[in-house]
Amino acid sequence: MEKEKIVEMRNIRKTFLNNVANNNINFVVYKGEIVSLLGENGAGKTTLMKILYGMYTKDSGEIFVNGKKVEINSPKDAIALGIGMVHQHFTLVRTLTVLENVILGLPSPKGINLDFDYARKRLQEIIQRYGLVVNPDAKIWQLSVGERQRVEIIKALYRNINVLILDEPTAVLTPQEVEELFKTLRIFKKEGKSIVFISHKLEEVMEISDRIVILRNGVVTGERRKEETNARELARLMVGREVIEVLREKTSVTEKSPLLKVEGLKALNDKNLVALKGISFSVNKGEILGVAGVAGNGQRELEDVICGVRKPISGHIFLDKDEISGRSPKEIIRLGVGRIPEDRMESGLILDLPLYENLVIEFYDKPPFSKGMLINYKSIKRFAQKLIKEYRIKTASIDVKTRTLSGGNLQKVILARVLSQSPKFIIASQPTRGLDVGAMEYIHEKLLEARNNGAGILLISEDLHEVLNLSDRIMVMYEGEIMGIIDRSKEKVDIEELGLMMAGAKRRKVS
């Protein structure tokens, strides 16, 4: 069977100031295939796809859809050509309902009047056909991340698209949700539609794709059929060198002195339900305590409470001798807590400020960055220069709006800011979500380095692999309670047992 080209992008070039994001890229999508775009953070994947979707204008190059040369100047043009995109950062209107978001921007069969009945019927059809369960009348802000993503996909399907671009769709999903997404994508493919899949998770890429295109520094560095490659080779093509999984250094802590002590902590979630049901645990100096668990079992609230952005209803948190519960986030940072928050876009960075300000935003009011009431920008900029070099943050300059950095580089900004202060205690929540293998390796290395230098680290992650790789002890949370703590200096981890604990089916006595 002759493969039919649906989309062909030729010699696409796009520069931001002096930063070449796409350097004469050629990229083809065939009918009925799932093609993965793989590449490091900042390689130019999102940029290429935004050009195809009409959100960025290319500097030069040509695009063909179904063999015809086209000009795509806005998402509207792209949608009309049957191209849909689900963005890395969702584009939903929080205050509108699912149904309203789906029909947004579309002409209505009833002229100027919205036709909710018709829309609801079509929405139900799509929900059923692709197994994308979501309540049409829920407001977006009430939905979980996984549900929001389903809405994004439904939005694209509702527009009868033939090519669906998914920009890191799995970065925010639980493993179960990923499986469901893949089921949907397979149905999609069976119907002869094509998918462009962007991800950093090599196992996923190997599982779902037919073909893989690798980008590095804005150029295509390789193309493989799934059958003729493996995860290891892909990693090498992506990063340009052999990637070795970091192995945990065996320098185990000899004397255990507790650094952070949590006692009987109770807290509510945003919906005013009890999210932490009186938990107690401690983190020692020079150890990583990994928190395993399915998202939404109190991890988020635990992070918030420790950082001081959520008030507990009862219980205590001590850092060394200092009680930190009930203090302001600023005081807590001052006392030596470094925070790498789950929501890096919203609570980690102020995206509209220049990069150099974000690099000092947690301590700009301390010397040498300010003196009295005056900020010393010279020293801040010098410091920022040093950090972007040290942490290999990819950016055109330190003066750009932070928003323009790619996802992985945003995370490096936070990491650099935190580690530059050598905190006593670090709380890292999903620290490598959305990061490429190279960046992930780097962040793991840095966290281990901090641990070896005596910092205590609470690592919250949905990536079980990551928890297993880094932690000295593993704590499992389920419905706001601790199901057990596994001390790896004393026993081997039984993955099955861990799974049961995560599902709430098994509980250990917590000493």
Binding site: M55, Y56, M85, T91, T95, E100, L104, G105, S108, L114
Partner: protein
């Protein structure tokens, strides 16, 4: 005249005055609701109302046609709405500065035009203003009739605009796009909505309604143009939008509430309670501040309000 406090006549008169005084607020606030729903705070509203008052008055003064006055007032508002859109949407200038600039410019232009056209006679010239329009049959209903169905034509228009605005905002494709643009313009843009077009449309509506609202003062409420005729009602409208949580039906109640405070002032001036009349004039503004203190905290502002939109 019987001004006894507890008589039925007093209350009917008071409520009728409430509806009358609420009219310009209803119209202007509905317009402002459209602007803010699209993400633009229209501080030009006060100036647009003043100019609308002047444009309506002059047109009627020279042509003797009240409806032509209404039309020209509305059109003048639309023109200023366009200017506001050009400054804030196309040039992405500060909404505060543009809006205040337009208010200063439009009011100045209104005073200047008045002087140029009329001069400064000791007694301001008058027109024959709208008289109330009794709705056949309905106005005869006891109590309700005189309150609701013996009003100026513009008042009826204002009241009918409330469901119309609600319909536009909640039931049409334009309304959905409007709400999306004011909440998350990036998302709207990604769905193929022309953010600029929606904001322009919203500001043209806001301007037109501000102009119409201004005309009410010179063509119905009074029969002449005075410099302080609008007297800050535009600013009250800005507060009312928040009070109404950007919902048209609530605009009606909010405007009636403020209308009633105006009406109290009017009524009490004629009674035995002796307070300097300036106190009554202050009442609406004092209430504006009180209401904002009570309500603003829980107000759910359109998320993109005040944020200019630029595409990469």
């Amino acid at each position: 005249m019987n001004t006894g406090f507890w008589t039925l006549t007093f209350w009917v008169g008071f409520l009728a005055a409430t509806v009358r005084m609420a009219t310009p607020l209803i119209i202007a606030t509905l317009g402002e609701t459209f602007a803010e729903r699209s993400g633009v705070l229209n501080l030009g509203i006060e100036g647009m109302m003043i100019f609308g008052a002047l444009a309506g008055f002059l047109t009627t003064y020279f042509t003797k046609s009240l409806w032509l006055g209404v039309l020209v007032a509305t059109l003048s508002g639309i023109a200023f709405g366009w200017l506001m859109a050009f400054l804030t949407v196309t040039l992405t200038l500060s909404q505060h500065v543009s809006g205040l600039g337009i208010t200063i410019f439009a009011s100045g232009l209104a005073y200047y035009t008045y002087r140029a056209a009329i001069g400064s006679p000791t007694v301001p010239p008058t027109i024959k203003a709208f008289s109330t329009l009794k709705i056949p049959l309905l106005w005869k209903i006891p109590i309700i009739g005189p309150i609701l169905f013996d009003q100026y034509a513009i008042t009826y228009i204002g009241i009918l605009l409330v469901p119309l605005a609600g319909y536009l905002i909640y039931k049409t494709t334009f309304g959905l796009s409007l709400r999306a643009v004011g909440e998350n313009p990036e998302a709207a843009d990604a769905m193929g909505i022309n953010v600029y077009k929606i904001r322009y449309t919203a500001l043209l509506i806001a301007g037109g309604l501000a102009g119409l609202s201004g005309a009410f003062f010179t063509l119905a409420e009074f029969n002449m143009f005075l410099y302080d005729i609008v007297a800050g009602r535009g600013w009250v409208a800005i507060a009312l939008v928040i009070f109404a949580n950007w919902i048209p039906s609530k605009v009606l109640w909010g405007a009636l509430f403020f209308g009633s405070i105006d009406a109290i002032g009017l009524r009490l001036q004629g009674t035995a309670i002796k307070v300097p009349f300036q106190v009554y004039l202050m009442l609406p503004y004092i209430f504006t501040i009180i209401v904002l203190i009570l309500i603003a905290r829980n107000a759910s502002y359109p998320s993109a309000l005040l944020k200019p939109y630029r595409r990469e």
